[in-house]
């Protein structure tokens, strides 16, 4: 490993066993041992990552992109040493900080001040270091007035700001950062992006996972596009974003997605198509409907689920929760929302939905990007007689009249 390489990754792979008896109760385990004496059971295994090799030079800012389930998070977890690769090896040189979440270890009963020390230590800072940066951290967070109040009395926004303030004062040589920008309000997200830009300009090595393609091209010089656990392409950030966008034209298979349980006030539990079809591939004049479910752990009557309809990197239309269930408030517990797209309006192409759950104060509770994707297989007959390859995104009715 030469002096200018920060990370050297060699043939990394991670295999998971699905439904295997890694954890269970004692009886289950004995049963399993007993059975395995007589049968050779085949476990379901799958490779979340395979054959991942690349080098990161010092000062590189690498954007890692890919669809949900492509292995981005697994890769970050391995490089953060949270989990071990099944095969392969990697070397890293320098002080590493990984931020897969803001506010790890925060305890509601403790004051803001105590949580800064707690969280800072968990992130790898020394006590003295935190003490010397304490005033800066509090300044940056903007919650100075409440610093001695237990954080259970903080709003979710205040908690996130305090947590990010701690993270922003880490002083790593290598920074590994997951979609932490997906929380908080727009102003906060801008602040985060600004800080990220600073970090990369200072010449630190950064690995950054995001669905925000604009942020990737702004902040990163190189990109890695992961697809189904493999590296699909590497190159400049812009090249990778482009090949990622091209991949949207391929067909999709999934009719229903169930999302993992999250802590906090609420999260999106499920998204699915309401259809008889086996795959989400539709004719131009098919009725396309969706059903979404979200769970609220608190009473947040004004919480709503907003849906963005997108193609490529463009948002085509946006639907508000209050339009999908007019006059209805959200309840504590499971909420269901249905959405039907206007028939015959979308042209041939691949589309996807981004979901965002907001609370009364316009804070994001949860975000699911590319929650569902679908294809429109054919053009509107209006274009059928023409040799037009790309008739555009929308098929709006013509109402021209002859010019006098």
């Amino acid at each position: 490993m030469d002096n200018y390489t920060a990370i050297k990754i060699d043939q990394i792979g991670k295999e998971y066993v699905i439904g295997g008896s890694v954890s269970g109760d004692l009886r289950e385990s004995f049963n399993h041992r007993f059975k395995s004496l007589f049968t050779t059971e085949k476990k379901d295994r799958f490779w979340a990552l395979k054959d991942i090799s690349f080098n990161v030079e010092q000062g590189d800012a690498i954007g890692i992109i890919g669809r949900n389930g492509a292995g981005k998070s697994t890769l970050l977890k391995i490089l953060s040493r949270i989990t071990e690769p099944t095969v392969g090896r990697f070397e890293m040189k320098g002080r590493v900080s990984s931020l897969l979440e803001v506010g790890t270890g925060f305890h509601p009963e403790l004051s803001g001040r105590e949580n800064v020390f707690l969280n800072g230590t968990i992130l790898g800072m020394k006590r003295k270091e935190i003490a010397s940066k304490f005033d800066q951290i509090v300044d940056f967070s903007g919650v100075a007035k409440f610093i001695d109040t237990p954080i259970k009395h903080y709003s979710s926004g205040m908690k996130v700001r305090l947590a990010f303030a701690v993270a922003a004062h880490l002083d790593p040589e290598i920074l590994i950062i997951d979609e932490v920008l997906a929380v908080g309000d727009a102003e906060f997200q801008q602040k985060c992006l600004g800080k990220m830009g600073e970090v990369t300009r200072e010449g630190r090595t950064v690995l950054f996972v995001s669905h925000n393609l604009e942020a990737i091209t702004d902040l990163c010089n190189k990109g890695i596009f992961l697809k189904n656990g493999l590296i699909e392409s590497t190159g400049t950030a812009i090249d990778s974003v482009n090949s990622y966008m091209r991949s949207f034209h391929e067909s999709s298979e999934v009719l229903q997605r169930t999302f993992p349980i999250k802590k906090g006030s609420g999260y999106i539990t499920q998204a699915r198509f309401v259809t008889d079809k086996k795959t989400p591939n539709f004719e131009y004049n098919d009725k396309i409907s969706f059903r979404f479910e979200y769970l609220l752990n608190e009473d947040l009557p004004d919480a709503e689920l907003n849906v963005d309809l997108c193609r490529g990197t463009e948002k085509i239309s946006m639907y508000f929760g209050r339009e999908m269930r007019p006059g209805e408030k959200s309840i504590k517990g499971l909420n269901t929302v249905e959405l039907q797209l206007p028939v015959g309006i979308l042209n041939k192409g691949n589309y996807y939905l981004n979901l965002a759950l907001h609370d009364n104060y316009r804070q994001f509770l949860d975000i699911q990007t590319e929650a569902l994707s679908f294809n429109i297989l054919n053009k509107h007959p209006r274009y059928a007689d023409h040799m037009i390859k790309d008739p555009g995104v929308l098929n709006l009715d013509p109402f021209g009249k002859r010019a006098e």
């Binding site: 200018y4 040493r81 949270i82 392969g88 090896r89 009963e109 968990i122």
Partner: protein, 282 residues
């Protein structure tokens, strides 16, 4: 920002060259973390309780009261020159620490699941921090023991010099059980229910409320060996000998010390083996 890459630390991850024993040097670098985690536990434990730290006293004193009632008053257990209150409180102080660390460690890894899934640190820090939290209660009970000895004007013999050794042994023994149970609970969640039972059973299988001789004299040799397979039996014997003098622990007490040594080393190996899958299975 340092421009001298050669001096930065090099991290190598290679599943083929996995170490089988925890990296003690690394653990030492993370000492701030277990201090801060121990401190958090302590702060949170008494944050909203009315009596706060007084709870630390109530449990051992209540146990003492019941022991005096049953073993001294009802059964008239003979503890020689040592006043029964002193005798049993010595046992209770060591046992209370042991049971605290053992119980707290049981769910510790699962309880810290969110942290384990989001950040790297040597996972051994978690059971270790439980052993550190327990030290506060342990120190308080030892202090009370000191006061009781002054109250009864009981002066210890020269063996008192070995007291730190036996306090250390109590800590290691408790930590050993803590490490084992914290790692095993990940695979076998049932163990959470076994721990309280073991603690309850152990209180009577260990010479906390009665002198060991009382048992040893009345059972055959093989049963005595079995009795000392309980590591806390030898520890409590030795602890009491340091405080009150008399005859040194029975020769079979060395069985206990050997069991501690083997189990302690074993616990570190087993923990290391489990450590790498922790984030995946919690």
């Amino acid at each position: 920002m340092s421009n001298t890459p050669n001096r930065s630390e090099l991290i190598v991850v290679d599943p083929k060259k996995r170490k089988s024993f925890p990296d003690i040097k690394e653990l030492f670098r993370y000492k701030d973390l277990f201090v801060v985690l121990a401190w958090r536990d302590l702060r949170v434990r008494y944050a909203q309780t009315f009596l706060g730290l007084i709870w630390t006293l109530i449990q051992p004193l209540a146990t003492l009261a019941i022991m005096v009632l049953i073993f001294q008053r009802a059964l008239n257990v003979d503890t020689g020159d040592v006043p029964y209150v002193l005798f049993s409180f010595a046992g209770i102080s060591a046992w209370t620490y042991f049971s605290f660390v053992f119980k707290e460690s049981g769910n510790s890894i699962i309880g810290a699941g969110e942290m384990i899934k989001k950040i790297y640190f040597p996972r051994l820090v978690i059971p270790l921090s439980k052993a550190v939290v327990g030290l506060v209660d342990y120190a308080v009970t030892l202090l009370i023991l000191g006061f009781l000895m002054i109250w009864f004007s009981y002066s210890p013999g020269p063996a008192i010099l070995l007291l730190p050794l036996f306090i250390f042994m109590t800590i290691i023994c408790s930590l050993t059980f803590g490490i084992w149970v914290s790692a095993l609970t990940i695979r076998y969640r049932d163990l959470q229910h076994v721990v309280p039972f073991v603690v309850q059973f152990g209180l009577f299988a260990t010479p906390v409320a009665y002198p060991t001789e009382l048992v040893i004299q009345r059972i055959p040799k093989w049963a005595s060996i079995l009795y000392y397979l309980n590591p806390m039996a030898g520890v409590v014997d030795g602890f009491r000998w340091c405080l009150f003098g008399g005859s040194p622990p029975h020769e079979l007490a060395y069985v206990s010390y050997l069991v501690i040594a083997i189990m302690f080393i074993g616990s570190l190996y087993y923990f290391k083996r489990t450590e790498r899958i922790m984030a995946d299975v919690i």
